[in-house]
């Protein structure tokens, strides 16, 4: 059985169907890329896993237990923007997760426990290549550095799933390549399970061990909102870097709905 299972999941807003009949299972240790045209429910799919939304019908299990419809420390997340706290230095951003776990009342560790947490945070910062930037505030960092920080911040909680919502979409091509190397290394070294939503199909195939393509299976020209999207293609890739099917490249061009 997979780490994350979707059983016949539907998401509807009123009479608008966003996701229909999503039925799949994600294995522990896999790197799943999620692609699809705008409006095809990629983000809704991710929001379901984060717990920002609950399915209208169907069930989602994480590790055999029903997923709580509320964000929690078992699911880490990195958004395209606003993932880090602007009022905390890089080091405090990373320590935040440990502070919350260790100090329910003040939300901040002190004394020897804080020193231990800071050491852990510094090691994590070094692992994402921010070893020298612990004292910087996010406003002083480049976009790539902020995303590195956001990844370090999420990983310190050792989440069972790491969710990436277009994490490299706003970065320069060169920086993006560095980030690909970083995330692949972290994924391999730490045995992470990663789900990544991306607009970039090449990126999806380069990084993923599996690619899910979301789109609408059926269309009603008179009531386009009545049919939802689902995973229409599911490519298990033996190794990262497999060839991209032509059908997907064609799909990238046209919008859904």
């Amino acid at each position: 059985m997979g780490l994350l299972t979707f059983r016949n999941v539907w998401v509807e807003y009123g009479d608008k169907v966003v996701l229909e009949n999503v039925d799949l299972s994600i294995e522990r240790g896999s790197f799943v890329s999620i692609v699809g045209p705008s409006g095809a429910g990629k983000s809704t799919f991710l929001r379901l896993i984060i717990g920002q939304e609950a399915p209208t019908r169907g069930a989602i299990d994480l590790d055999g237990e029903k997923l709580r419809a509320e964000p929690g420390p078992d699911r880490g997340v990195v958004f395209q923007k606003y993932s880090v706290f602007p009022h905390l230095s890089a080091r405090d951003n990373v320590v935040f997760g440990l502070d919350c776990a260790g100090s329910p009342l003040l939300g901040r560790l002190s004394g020897a426990r804080r020193r231990a947490a800071l050491e852990q945070a510094d090691a994590m910062l070094a692992a994402v290549g921010l070893g020298d930037s612990g004292d910087l505030y996010p406003a002083k960092m480049s976009g790539g550095m902020q995303q590195r920080l956001a990844i370090a911040q999420a990983l310190i909680k050792k989440p069972r799933v790491l969710l990436l919502d277009e994490p490299f979409g706003a970065l320069d091509p060169g920086v993006r390549l560095d980030m690909h190397a970083l995330i692949t290394g972290l994924w391999r070294d730490n045995g992470l399970t990663i789900l990544m939503v991306t607009h970039d199909i090449k990126e999806a195939f380069k990084l993923g061990t599996r690619v899910l393509a979301f789109d609408k299976r059926r269309r009603d020209p008179h009531a386009p909102h009545r049919y939802g999207a689902t995973a229409v293609y599911d490519f298990p890739l033996d190794k990262p870097g497999a060839a991209i099917p032509d059908a997907l490249l064609a799909m990238q061009e046209k919008p859904a709905a």
Binding site: I50, S83, F85, H87, D99, C100, A101, A139
Partner: protein
């Protein structure tokens, strides 16, 4: 070069800023001199010498009361405006954070705060005098009622505008509602709260002077309205200047505190 691209710097900026003030002072002196040439006992536009003399008189200890009126008035007014703003700030912080962060509270108390915010505070001053008497409480209550709703709504809107990504991220890092309020919302609310307090200084002084004008036996506003009966412009004008100096000092102090305590909120700008 286009007008909007001309940026005065350094000494020039200070000079440009000082010129209108100097011009206003010069204009006053000329007008005052003209009136005194016609009538040496003119009271409407007193000469600087007369104003200095009046201030010296006000700053001198009165043998009857044992106090200097200027000092007593200043202390009384500062105490009122200070305690009122402290209460207003504390209330705004708690309510603003609560309303901004918790949809449940917003649904329950948002309409109430919005309703209170549109009541003209001076209109409830009689009620305050009836309920609290003519003492300090009514005056402090007027300032609190006058500035708090605006500060609460401003802070609530600011907290509600914290990106959802940040709130979700904090929860995925194991943060409880309390921890999120304390470590994510509160620090980001503080610079805004101080800014909103700075903007509230002016209305706070308006309400203070109004309350003092109607019922008080000390205070800067009380004194101005008292000597108005004798057309004592030589006291009124220095008092008004003194109030503006006090208000500007408070404003600059708050600005300095905000920039010192929350440097991340004020990244250096290009201009």
């Amino acid at each position: 070069m286009r007008l909007l691209n001309i940026r005065p710097r350094g000494g020039l900026a200070i000079l440009l800023g000082a010129l209108p003030l100097l011009a206003a002072a010069l204009l006053y002196l000329m007008a005052s001199q003209a009136r005194h040439a016609d009538n040496p006992r003119d009271k409407l536009l007193p000469t600087p010498a007369a104003m200095v003399e009046a201030v010296q008189l006000m700053a001198k200890v009165d043998p009857l009361t044992g106090h200097a009126p200027l000092v007593v008035d200043t202390m009384a007014s500062l105490e009122r405006v200070g305690s009122a703003l402290a209460i207003a700030t504390a209330l705004s912080l708690v309510l603003g954070l609560g309303l901004g962060l918790l949809p449940l509270l917003r649904a329950k108390f948002g309409p109430l705060v919005a309703t209170i915010a549109v009541i003209p505070p001076i209109a409830v001053l009689p009620i305050l005098f009836i309920v609290f008497g003519l003492g300090e409480t009514a005056k402090i209550a007027l300032i609190v009622i006058g500035v708090t709703p605006v500060m609460v709504r401003d802070l609530a809107a600011h907290v509600a505008a914290i990106p959802e990504e940040q709130l979700v991220k904090a929860q995925t890092l194991g943060s409880s509602t309390w921890q999120l309020a304390l470590r994510v919302a509160l620090p980001q609310a503080m610079p805004r709260l101080i800014d909103s307090l700075r903007l509230s200084l002016c209305p706070a002084w308006v309400y203070l002077i109004s309350a003092e004008a109607i019922a008080a036996d000390t205070g800067l506003g009380y004194r101005i309205f008292l000597v108005r009966r004798y057309l004592s412009m030589d006291i009124i004008l220095p008092y008004v200047a003194w109030i503006s100096i006090l208000a500007v000092t408070m404003d600059l102090t708050l600005r300095l505190i905000a920039r010192r305590a929350y440097p991340w909120a004020y990244p250096e700008r290009a201009r």
